[in-house]
């Protein structure tokens, strides 16, 4: 009797047990279920939600691996122990030492994120008596990528519990939530523990611990520096593009994000409309600010000057706008659901992100706030798009009657 048969018998034997969804989640992870169609279509396409979510995870894995190396690289670089790497394939970047630091710091984040989040999902599935839904597979992967590397694990756990319960389960679980759960977690961390989530000490492993010692070093991000009119800290455009800069774990490498985006668009899992329109929105706002600077409406002494003066296209490779556009804004549940609505939704995300980035003195990254804001407005956008269709239908009747 094979494993398949044993598991099947176990499932049948315990089919009225409360905890069965928990078992099923593991069983269906191993085997696609034996469920067949009833009336309706008798055949079904190959894709299911697990496959869809898995595709997004695959698009995220390169960012995660890069993030591990980068964690170690930034750590050693800030201490002055290694040379700065020249380009994506720089000799001092892809080293075993860097990876070891990354594994030590990043893997626990992944494990805690998945462990805590899935535990909450399992509990809710059992309480409510439905199957464990796959939404958290992607959320759990996104969370470690958008937090600073040195975040304490207990803080992450608290945030994950909050994000999954308040961001998702209270609305009825995957598919029903209004706010992107991963961003809810990020927002909770930001507002509950602001000192941990911003400033210049959190982005490089060890920077905080070294404060006050003779070896103290800073781990400032480019965005934070620009916001204080301090320039780009000596990083050139290519450093930003390849991602060998300080930042949240997985969002630094624009190169790998673009690869992930192309993969998502190619597999038809990610919405190219949202990705493209977000970038258009960001560029538009960047252009407007460039216009403001060149019209000399603000002077160099203005505290907004540093960020406003960034050439508009560079906004895309600074900060996490690209990561947000590709992996966050495209979450189908919380995004606009109509094709026309997706254009508007994405455009506004990009537009507002850059606006917040420039005007917010306390925290220069506005992407997560912009996306959360547009999550809230997505149903409104859809409503007006759909009204177009409804009006066309009503007009047909009127033409007839006239």
């Amino acid at each position: 009797m094979g494993l398949k048969q044993k598991l099947h018998n176990f499932k049948v034997k315990n089919q009225d047990k409360k905890w069965l969804p928990g078992f099923n989640a593991l069983f269906t992870f191993l085997y696609m279920p034996n469920e067949t169609t009833h009336n309706g279509t008798h055949i079904k396409a190959a894709d299911d939600l697990k496959r869809t979510m898995n595709t997004v995870i695959m698009a995220l894995v390169p960012c995660l691996i890069f993030g591990m190396f980068n964690a170690g690289y930034q750590h050693y670089l800030a201490q002055g122990l290694i040379e700065s790497a020249d380009g994506f394939l720089g000799a001092s970047f892809w080293t075993w030492d860097n990876l070891v630091i990354g594994l030590w710091k990043v893997l626990p984040l992944v494990i805690v994120s998945y462990g805590v989040g899935l535990a909450v999902e399992f509990i809710f599935a059992i309480i409510k008596g439905h199957e464990v839904e796959e939404g958290y597979l992607v959320t759990g992967m996104l969370v470690p990528l958008i937090v600073p590397v040195d975040i304490p694990l207990w803080m992450l756990s608290v945030a994950v519990v909050f994000g999954v319960v308040i961001g998702k389960e209270v609305f009825g679980g995957t598919g029903m939530n209004i706010l992107n759960p991963a961003l809810t977690i990020r927002a909770f961390l930001f507002f509950a523990y602001p000192t941990w989530m911003s400033g210049d000490k959190v982005w490089v492993h060890g920077a905080n611990a070294a404060t006050g010692t003779p070896d103290a070093y800073s781990g400032e991000t480019i965005l934070g520096s620009l916001a204080q009119n301090n320039g780009t800290l000596g990083h050139d455009i290519w450093d930003m593009f390849w991602g060998i800069i300080p930042g949240s774990v997985g969002e630094t490498s624009k190169f790998l994000i673009i690869i992930g985006a192309l993969f998502l668009i190619f597999t038809k899992i990610g919405s190219w409309r949202i990705i493209v329109s977000t970038l258009i929105g960001a560029l538009t706002m960047g252009l407007i600010f460039n216009g403001v600077v060149s019209a000399e409406w603000i002077s160099e002494s203005s505290k907004f000057y540093g960020l406003m003066n960034v050439p508009f296209w560079q906004h895309l490779i600074i900060g996490s706008i690209l990561f947000g556009a590709v992996y966050m804004a495209t979450d189908p549940v919380t995004a606009a659901q109509t094709n026309k609505g997706k254009w508007i939704y994405g455009f506004l995300i990009g537009f507002i992100s850059i606006m917040i980035r420039v005007f917010n003195p306390a925290y220069p990254e506005g992407v997560f706030l912009a996306i959360l804001l547009m999550n809230v407005f997505a149903p409104t956008i859809d409503h007006y798009v759909i009204q177009g269709n409804v009006k066309r239908r009503l007009k047909r009747v009127k033409v007839k009657a006239a």
């Binding site: 079904k44 939600l49 898995n54």
Partner: protein, 450 residues
Amino acid sequence: MSKDIRIKKGLDIKLVGEAEKTTENAIISNSFTVRPEDFHSITPKLVAKEGTKVKAGEPLFFNKDNEAMKFVSPASGEVTEVLRGERRRIMAIKVTADKAQSYVDHGRFDLNSDADALKAHLLASGCWAFIKQRPYDVVANPSNTPKAIFISGYASAPLAADLDFTLAGKEAELQTAVTALSKLTEGGVHISVGKGTNSPLANLDNASIYMVSGPHPSGNVGTLINKVSPVNKGEVVWTVNAQDLVIIGELLLTGKFNAERTIALAGSSVKKPRYFKTKIGAEVSTMIYDNGVDKDGNDRIISGNVLSGKEVKPDGILDYYSNVITVIPEGDDYEFFGWNKPVFNKISPSRALTFSWLTPNKKYDLNTNTNGEHRAFVVTGNYEQVFPLDIYPLQILKACMYKDLDEMEALGMYEVAPEDFALTEFICVSKQPHQKIIREGLDLMLKEIG
């Protein structure tokens, strides 16, 4: 006066087991069964009790709300069983056939009669059952005058019977039926035929002919209606299946209700897929075993096509509206890591490690596995790729689920039938039963608005 309709959105599902174009006479069925559930929303009132002798074309039951609307026996014989379900609802009426068939003779119908006489004739002879209406996708209400009548002469569904083949040589009946139907409406009869095909419907008089092309659902009557003249609030259109025109035509010409129909036996479980001449309500076992499926095979037998047909057991019957029986393997087995390994042998609209996009002309052998579990709606934007109507599919489905009548109406519920949502159901990542949701939504509207 033919016009072109070309649709781009849709999906051709190419399956193994297309019927070969040879016709055999099916073994004559011992019994013929009529199931009132085929006529959705009709409450049957039984006429022929157990033990009654009926001729072919003699009423078995009538519509409780409209006594004139008769539903007749497809064959002559004795009513041997009236199967009842909950609350004595009639589930099936079984007629054990005579050796020699005898028919009720209604006489040749004078085509110059007025619409009322024609209606009465169709109602009394049992042919009214073939006329369906939208909104609601139910048997038409004879007191209405429809805006127009629509007929699809192009079957684009997977493994559907080729209407050009099954209707060949029936031009006289088709023409008679179309001429008669054109008297029942002021908006004319609209017929779609496949572009570049040799359809016997293409040259009919008293009808507007449309040449359709593009992927399935180009041949669905719902697509034709939406492109020609969508149903507005307060309007009614009627639809008739092309193969049923033959029965209507023959009734008008000869006075006999001849339930004979050429049907396709198709599907990957069938050894030699081909066409059969048989009758409505015949037992499927008369067709599926000879050079067909294995007796002890684990197969799904479907009366109708794989997208919208009904599951029947081997002792089941060909239902009233179908012209195809499809047999495909059941998929009640687990698949190791089925959700993440690359897939080459199944159709997928995405490219998420599914490779059907590489081989657009490959024919697939799909089984009935759902390929995943039922979930809430998550993915958006994919239904629109296969849904050619000017309607928001996801939103209308959700409106049906939360039973908001105003919103259902505003989003176009009057225009749709469950079969229009077959493709969105096929590709649904969340494995939601779209056709069932739409059917229940339509039933609710029928009950509340009428």
